[in-house]
Amino acid sequence: MLFHNLGKGKTARAGAVAALAVSIALLATGCASDSTGGGSTDAAGGDTGNLAVTFIPKNLGNPYFDTSDKGGKTAVESFSGTFQEVGPAEASPDAQVSYINTATTQGVGALVVAANDPTAICDALNEARDTGIKVVTFDSDTDPECRDLFINQADAEGIAKVQIDEIAKQIGESGEVAILSATANATNQNAWIEQMKTYAASEYPNITIVDTVYGDDDDQTSFDKTAALLQSHPNLKGIVSPTTVGIAAAARYLQTSEYKGKVALTGLGTPNQMRDYVEDGTVTSFALWNPEDLGYLSAMAAKALIEGTITGAEGDSFEAGDLGSFKVGADQTVLLGDPFVFDKSNIGDFDF
């Protein structure tokens, strides 16, 4: 069978090793929280001098979050804080919980999190906040009561507008359009899709959004979903993919399919991923903000919160280094700015 019994002696030894490992881990975490000044003893008030900022992206190995965390690192180093990046290998709803708990035990000054799920990590975040840790979310928000501040890369309105405007321009303002999203429970994706539908309905009455499919931010799934979209909607004129993995996979499918040049594709992508497809004409244009700026701003906001410059109340304003001054809007949200459109003429200027 698949399991064999270990000998008695081996079991006992394995138990001893496990016990030893646990004790070492306990000792190590104990020491860590001592050395950083211990947020845990300093409840609610927070430690204004503790500039240790931990970034928890949706998952590691994701170029988008690598770029944003790079921006975060630059910011943290600029104010002489301690930067740390941890996170799960896979973007599943509750995978971030253990990393949040570890950071809480370490007593960091602030957590900067891109939430995989709006509610699954809430309890863990609130436990961290109870010990005085400031929580900033970026890219993808949690429920507002679980964080101090959300750094919005661009508001849903701006993102929805730029993508619908681009696709409308490419298909002549009329015809069937479908959406290729990431996971079905991704907060940001769903908010954008809702806005896109509203905006398209009001501005371009001849465009119908016929379907929304989910590629789970996986190359292969997104690729296959694109194929299914094209087959199930023979009159499809355009695809909007508001996710970097989705748009690249869809472009790769279109590039070698009979629909190349007939079905337009736009959405949110990174220049390096899309270079090939923009150069050979599969894709005319796509949009994105600068993830590096996003990470930078998030770290700066974390610093302002730690130092007590802002509390997250509407109307608070803070300085974010090179990016200038920002104001906290409604729902403890800070807006980065308008999305940027990449096309054949400017894609060569970017490398991320």
């Binding site: 399991f3 064999h4 190995g61 770029t67 190359d219 979903k225 199930s232 399919s257 390096n272 150069e279």
Partner: protein, 350 residues
């Protein structure tokens, strides 16, 4: 255990009917036939709903192309499962070799494609050898070892790839064309998968070595006592599974054009699922690589058909799950019926 015991019995049966009739009878009794009928049913129903599922150039190509890479992985997985083990690391092996493929093209400009293919297969085989050695020599259950290497290999991939992503523009056009290219309207990837499948099926059915996998899977202790080289067979099974996952990784890079550190995540479940659906019993000793290959085709064709049939995204996984459970229940029922029949025939001959 159903098919393994069935096959020799049929061959030993008295020669009273023509080979054709016997072949036909065998075909209808085989476990794989049911799955094949299911595949055809899915294709026919979907095509009736939307003719372009088969009758458009993209539709025809995707029908053959989509399952091709999984077929390779499932064939390797079937060989391992038949020897009463399981290889859960194939998804990570695939991801690592896919990334290696991209890196080779970036780091060694102008490297011949054949070298990249060989490197992928050898690298995959080495990773498989590590699995096999740990299972065979450390005598730890394969499920535990390969669960460990699943994470270990993926971890290495994340460390190695880091912020890097292989983009389509990093790989030569010729190589990418391989991923979607066709020969006489049959995709090249499908031809590769078919060649591997036929070779593996022939080896498993007709050679002494192939039959030893079944013997070991049926009863490892008895096979050892009988003098079969169990360790060597186990190593071969894992190396085959790793090498095929490695080949699949190279083809993955060619087909999808982008490779990040998460490429191939979850493929181990698809591969095991394909084998189980195709009638490869999870307890070892029975099933065929044909079955696993058809299982892979069914799994991925259903995935593509459901959206066209209008089944919402959220239900698609549930359907796949139901399919796997159904296959296992069917396997159990068949096995029980088979052992009852064997008992009855023994009573009669007494």
């Amino acid at each position: 255990m159903s098919t393994a015991t069935l096959t020799p019995r049929n061959q030993d049966a008295p020669k009273q009917s023509s080979p054709f009739v016997r072949g036909l009878g065998h075909f209808f009794k085989a476990r794989e036939t049911g799955i094949l009928i299911a595949v055809l049913l899915v294709i026919v129903v979907t095509t009736v709903k939307n003719p372009s599922f088969v009758f458009s150039s993209d539709g025809w190509r995707d029908l053959l192309l989509t399952p091709s890479i999984l077929v390779l992985v499932a064939v390797g997985q079937a060989i391992v499962i038949i020897t009463k083990s399981v290889d859960l690391s194939v998804g990570s092996v695939l991801g690592l070799t896919a990334y290696l493929t991209g890196r080779l093209f970036i780091d060694i400009p102008g490297i011949p494609m054949i070298v990249v293919f060989l490197a992928g297969i050898v690298f995959g085989g080495l990773l498989g050898l590590i699995n096999g050695a740990l299972v065979a020599f450390a005598k730890v259950p394969a499920m535990v070892i390969t669960l460990g290497t699943l994470y270990a290999y993926r971890g290495i991939n994340v460390v190695w790839a880091g912020s890097d992503r292989i983009n389509a523009s990093d790989m030569p056009k010729d190589f990418l064309a391989l991923g979607t290219g066709q020969f006489l309207s049959i995709p090249l990837l499908t031809i590769i998968a078919l060649v591997v499948l036929v070779a593996a099926a022939w080896y498993m059915k007709n050679t002494r070595g192939g039959r030893e996998f079944y013997a070991i899977g049926s009863d490892p202790a008895a096979a050892g006592l009988y003098g079969l080289r169990v360790v060597r067979r186990l190593l071969i099974a894992f190396v085959a599974s790793g090498a095929l996952a490695g080949l699949a990784g190279v083809l993955y890079a060619a087909r999808y054009g982008t490779v990040n550190s998460q490429a191939g995540t979850g493929w181990e479940l698809d591969a095991v699922g394909a084998a189980v659906i195709g009638g490869v019993a999870i307890v070892g000793g029975s099933g065929t690589v044909w079955g696993a290959a058809i299982g892979a085709v069914l799994l991925l064709t259903i995935n593509r058909a459901l959206p066209i049939l209008g089944v919402p995204d959220f239900w698609q996984r549930a359907v796949v799950g139901a399919l796997i459970i159904g296959a296992i229940v069917l396997d159990r029922v068949l096995a029980l019926r088979q052992s009852r029949k064997l008992l009855e025939s023994r009573e009669e001959t007494k």
